[in-house]
């Protein structure tokens, strides 16, 4: 911490900059909300006003009752939740292995996981499509869960590893001396201590799965298995004049991730802290 010579001048600038950052971060979301609440007849006449003279929930009502968004919403919830659970489970195991053991091939496994973060994912769309099609996993939520889990496991594993690294090894060794096997030690000592890490990883993967567009677009062409991003994009290209409804749907798409974010935000920063400190 360093203390400037002109304290009050410094803090005025400090707050000014922070206000600018907060406005930049929030304004687009505020605008989304504003248009979603503006009645159609005021949309153009009050286009640049910061708040409409009359607000309405009509757009939300018609999105919920006249479109397929409730179905897309349900699909996205199923896919994202299942993906988050599966990825976190696999990543917790792998991260634990990386953190607690030196073993032959570890270097290669870590390298392999890094490679998966490097290449353009578009490259594997076609092979994955051909792989999943004969198994009946296209146009299916299960197919998406499998693909998303694989995409997210590498980063999630590194994240979990950094959480495990932060827990002293002595803790589980003490438990093992007391007669617990390693798995029991893992379950009863380590898992409770890594709950913030698990929450952060869950939230991270949930958000990633909720946002994914390209594979959802390519693998699932039927409406019945469409996720929210695909539905919204189709809606935008079909009814691109109905701004109120589009933005109401956008706000609905935001809700789950924002809720998740508010709950896990502190843990996420803490988790990336552990990861970043290791560099």
């Amino acid at each position: 911490m360093f203390i400037g010579h002109h304290r009050s001048g410094y803090w005025a600038l400090h707050y000014l900059l922070l206000i600018a950052f907060v406005l930049f971060a929030l304004f687009p979301l505020f605008w989304l909300l504003k248009v979603s609440l503006t009645p159609n007849d005021l949309l153009y006449s009050e286009g640049v006003r910061l708040w409409p003279s009359r607000a309405t929930f009509d757009h939300y009502a018609s999105v919920i009752s006249h479109t397929q968004f409730p179905l897309f919403f349900r699909n996205s919830i199923i896919v994202s939740t299942t993906t988050a659970a599966c990825s976190t489970l696999l990543a917790a195991a792998a991260g634990y292995g990386f953190s607690r053991f030196q073993f032959r091939g570890k270097y290669w496994i870590v390298g392999l996981m890094l490679v998966t973060q490097m290449f353009p994912l578009v490259m594997i769309v076609a092979p994955i499509f051909r792989l999943l099609k004969p198994l009946g996993l296209t146009n299916s939520l299960t197919g998406l869960v499998i693909v998303y889990t694989a995409f997210n496991v590498p980063f999630a594993s590194f994240l979990m590893q950094s959480f495990f690294d932060a827990i002293p090894k002595d803790l589980e060794e003490a438990a093992m001396l007391d007669g617990a096997n390693r798995f029991a030690a893992f379950w009863r000592i380590i898992v409770p201590l890594t709950l913030p890490g698990l929450a952060a990883t869950l939230g991270f993967v949930f958000t990633a799965a909720w946002s994914e567009l390209l594979f959802a677009l390519m693998l699932n062409s039927s409406n019945a298995a469409s996720t929210f991003p695909v539905g919204l994009l189709a809606f935008v290209s079909k009814f691109s004049v109905d701004f109120g409804q589009m933005m109401a749907a956008g706000v609905l798409a935001l809700l789950p991730v924002c809720l998740f974010f508010v709950f896990i935000q502190r843990h996420l920063v803490q988790g990336l802290t552990a990861g970043a400190v290791k560099g």
Binding site: M123, V125, V153
Partner: protein, 296 residues
């Protein structure tokens, strides 16, 4: 006893194997198959395709003006996005590293864009640039930057800045979070000792903060550069590469070739080139880093 030892030796693999298997089946095997597509004539929905064509796609690519244009745009897109995200992220991290009332709330608010799904960020910014429902064109006109309120995204000379701004908005929190974490790991007594020795704020920033942040900066910039170069979502959503290919980057070009022309062979060839360029970039950065580390 030997049985017990075998179990102990196998234990680390039991933890890592499920993840490794899944990654191999869903990512690495398709990656290898995708690489072979670059040398084959692969068109989806065309049963006659599939022949081996050798280097034909790569020859075609050398003569493809759209490819070279996309390559130039990829550089602009990546450099501009990473520089702005990093610069603003560093400023934000430095601001948040101080203790002040309401810091937790401010942190929550400024990090929020990171939680916004990328497709929604893209749509949201496309709407903001749209003169019909968005305020930005009207503001730009009021500032005298535009003669009439028009959509930035339909101006072939400047359209790429639309997705770049959306990307910066969305990506600042990532840099801010990682840099803030690194800042908080710097021991406070170093600053105090330097202050007692008479070092001013700028000297302390340059001689203490920057060297401490350097490893984190190097690794996050490397990862983000690769990631952003591959990141097609915002462009696909906001401009679809248009107008007249002026916002097409390699990643979105691959997407267009694969999805609209269903030409997976050519798309894979472009992807192979992008992959090779990114690997070369990563290798260069790593070599530079180890050189710098050795010199220290």
């Amino acid at each position: 006893m030997t049985w017990r030892r075998a179990v102990l030796a196998a234990e680390p693999y039991l933890y890592t194997l499920p993840a490794v298997l899944l990654i191999c089946v869903v990512m690495l095997v398709p990656l290898l198959i995708g690489l072979t597509y670059a040398f084959h004539d692969v068109r989806l929905l065309d049963p006659l395709s599939g022949d081996f064509v050798g280097l034909d796609h790569f020859r075609e690519l050398l003569a493809d003006a759209a490819f070279w244009n996309a390559l130039r745009n990829t550089v602009t897109w990546t450099v501009a996005s990473v520089t702005l995200q990093f610069g603003l992220g560093l400023v934000l991290a430095l601001l948040l590293d101080r203790v002040f009332p309401g810091r937790a709330l401010v942190q929550l608010l400024v990090f929020l864009p990171w939680a916004i799904p990328s497709f929604l960020s893209g749509l949201n910014w496309a709407w903001l640039f749209n003169p019909v429902v968005g305020p930005l064109p009207h503001w730009l006109r009021a500032l005298g930057l535009m003669a009439t309120p028009e959509n930035l995204l339909s101006d072939p000379h400047h359209a790429l800045w639309g997705p770049i701004i959306a990307n910066v908005w969305w990506g600042i929190p990532f840099f801010a979070i990682t840099l803030l974490a690194a800042l908080q790991s710097i021991p406070a007594d170093i600053y105090e000792a330097a202050a007692i020795d008479g070092a001013g704020p700028w000297t302390r920033f340059r001689r203490i903060t920057l060297p401490f942040l350097a490893p984190t900066m190097a690794i996050t910039i490397l990862l983000r550069t690769v990631w952003i170069a591959n990141f097609a979502d915002l462009i696909v959503i906001m401009t679809k590469g248009g107008p007249a290919d002026s916002t097409q980057i390699l990643a979105s070009y691959i997407f267009t070739q694969a999805f609209q022309r269903l030409d997976f062979g050519y798309a894979s060839a472009v992807a192979t080139v992008l992959l090779a360029l990114l690997l070369a970039y990563a290798a260069a950065v790593m070599a530079l880093r180890s050189m710098l580390v050795q010199r220290r």
